[in-house]
């Protein structure tokens, strides 16, 4: 018997709400939105955790500007360090700059291990940065995280819609709550929004200044992107309570 599964719900008990930021697709801004959301929620005074589940391409530590040498502490498990007010957990503590060439069953095993040994503090929100795809990690997150809600990210491109709509179909079929569908990187020239459930539609602008703010949360929080993200956060917080 795998001893780890039974303890995961115990480990997640101090967390009020888990929000998985997902798209099914890569490159649409999941990590940027997930990290930004964690930062603006922390700024609003919520207790926030951020869990990077993109084991092939972890990136939230880049946006947060995680300093080298910061490691979880061991205390009857591993305690995520607090980075810019956020309890932060990522495989990067263990892989550093090296690749993690993992098969699907290894991804599952690594995720179960991480969830079984990580000791989160009392959190209002745990934001989960999801990898692209609808495979192992997405299915495991749905299976193992207690009632996660999803925040779906797309870009204003039909190519993005094509894949993102598949994630939305899957979540809808499984009755998993969708807190919002964010159209990220919108430019004024983009055509009117289409396709998705307009009740859940949110927009985030393409922000030229974002690249220079990566790794510097103070500066990140002053971008137009962050200003709009605060508004998005305020609309989705009430949805996360229902």
């Amino acid at each position: 018997m795998d001893p780890r599964i039974a303890i995961i719900s115990e480990r997640l008990k101090p967390i009020k709400k888990i929000i998985a930021v997902a798209a099914g697709k890569g490159g649409v801004g999941k990590s940027t939105v997930a990290t930004g959301l964690a930062l603006v929620l922390a700024e609003m005074g919520y207790r926030v955790g951020l869990l990077d589940l993109d084991f092939y391409g972890p990136s939230t530590h880049v946006i947060l500007g995680l300093s080298e040498g910061i490691q979880p502490t061991e205390e009857r498990g591993i305690v995520p360090p607090t980075v810019h007010g956020i309890e932060f957990m990522s495989i990067v503590y263990y892989t550093g700059k090296n690749p993690a060439p993992l098969r699907g069953s290894d991804l599952t095993n690594a995720l179960i291990e991480l969830l079984a040994i990580t000791r989160w503090g009392e959190l209002d929100f745990l934001i989960v940065d999801m990898p692209p795809g609808l495979g192992d990690t997405t299915l495991d997150a749905i299976r193992l995280l207690k009632n996660p809600s999803f925040l779906v990210v797309t870009t204003p491109s039909r190519i993005a819609y094509e894949t993102v709509s598949k994630l939305i179909a899957l979540l809808s079929e499984l009755n998993i709550p969708i807190l919002g569908i964010i159209e990220n990187m919108r430019r004024p020239s983009d055509r009117a929004r289409s396709a998705f459930d307009m009740r859940l539609g949110e927009e985030l602008p393409f922000d030229e200044g974002l690249e220079d703010a990566l790794g510097d949360p103070e500066r990140f929080l002053q971008t137009e992107f962050a200003r709009r993200l605060r508004e998005v956060a305020l609309t989705i917080i009430p949805r996360s309570r229902s």
């Binding site: 303890i7 205390e75 495989i91 090296n98 690749p99 993690a100 291990e113």
Partner: protein, 135 residues
């Protein structure tokens, strides 16, 4: 000392399994320790004993039996099989593998063809191997 977290996991699972098997009292818990995870057996045994002592009567008196299993790998590319050696690995690397055994794929390679695409065929980590008790 993340052995404590795994010890809690073992006890929680033993209790769940005891309920499923309609056991009134668990007398023996057999835990398999896979070598790759490099569990500190003394700490782990101490943690298990300590947690059991504070548990309800269902598991409180249970004896813990350990089995160890050598870690064994098989390359998916050239099918070579080999055993776990820590000699050529730094302490940071063995510690990373201790927390998440899959990290082996980041730092270890097939000794014959250097592929990272290998399978851990035995001895990955902690496993609840058997449960004895009274109905």
């Amino acid at each position: 000392m993340h052995e404590w977290a795994l010890a809690e996991a073992v006890i929680a699972t033993a209790k769940r399994a005891a309920h499923e098997q309609n056991l009134r009292r668990v007398t023996e818990i057999t835990v398999k320790l896979g070598e790759l995870q490099q569990i500190e057996r003394e700490i782990f045994a101490f943690a298990l004993e300590h947690i059991l002592g504070q548990e309800d009567p269902l598991v409180r008196g249970a004896k813990v039996v350990f089995e160890t299993e050598r870690a064994q790998f098989r390359c998916r590319v050239c099918h070579f099989e080999w055993a776990f050696e820590t000699e050529n690995l730094s302490s940071e690397i063995t510690e990373a593998i201790h927390f998440i055994p899959e990290i082996a794929h980041t730092y270890m390679r097939c000794p014959r063809c250097h592929s990272p695409d290998f399978e851990v065929i035995a001895g990955r980590g902690v496993w609840l191997a058997a449960l004895k008790g009274e109905e």
